[in-house]
Subunit: 128 residues, 2 copies
């Protein structure tokens, strides 16, 4: 399963802190029963639009990956939890909402990964 989360109203000081984002990536896999196979990689990003700056980070887990992109000035964050194994997406979402103080959340649960091996005929395109 792949859980995609767009969180709004997040704590801007947390979103702005590269060290705290690295700690999140370091700690969160074990909190949801997943296993890191790399150290977290975290980068600051400063773009053409000043309020688009933020922190991007990634950790590879045995089951696939966790990624995060933060936009402190917008109190907006994108988080992905992708595992080739099934996991409790509601519980994971609850933990993230608490950790980042999210007031509003849109999430997508996508059925993909090893437990969903099911080749389509040709090319199948879906929009969500």
């Amino acid at each position: 399963m792949h859980l995609l989360i767009d969180g709004y109203g997040a704590d801007p000081e947390l979103l702005a802190d590269q060290q705290l984002i690295a700690e999140f990536l370091d700690e969160f896999p074990s909190q949801i029963g997943m296993t890191k196979i790399s150290s977290p990689q975290v980068h600051n990003y400063v773009g053409a639009v000043p309020e688009d700056w933020g922190v991007s980070g990634f950790v590879i887990i045995a089951e696939s990956h966790i990624s995060i992109h933060t936009f402190p000035d917008r109190q907006y964050v994108n988080i992905d939890i992708f595992s080739c194994k099934e996991f409790d997406d509601q519980s994971t979402l609850d933990k993230l909402q608490t950790r980042f103080n999210l007031t509003n959340v849109r999430s997508w649960s996508v059925s993909r990964g090893l437990e969903h091996l099911n080749p389509p005929t040709g090319v199948e395109r879906l929009s969500c």
Copy 2:
């Protein structure tokens, strides 16, 4: 936009080659008009189930990230192209289908990112 791709029938020798996967992550962003802000990170994974082994990698781009997880023994690959800016998902899908010799593909185009800032009321959950 976030484009998620599950590809079947892929070239197993390509999927098994950590160096070729690193080259893909290094080259592909510029081929679709995106800008790397990190070097590709690539890891081999060997799990409890022998045929689940493969290569996992990602590269952070200014616009968000590209990730890949390969399963050579299953000729199966998961690829994510996530950009906070819009991009041509059909053209990107075509390039990936060619590069990995995919015979069957399931893809999801998810409307998220800075061009889709649109807070829901409370928590909105979608399944795809």
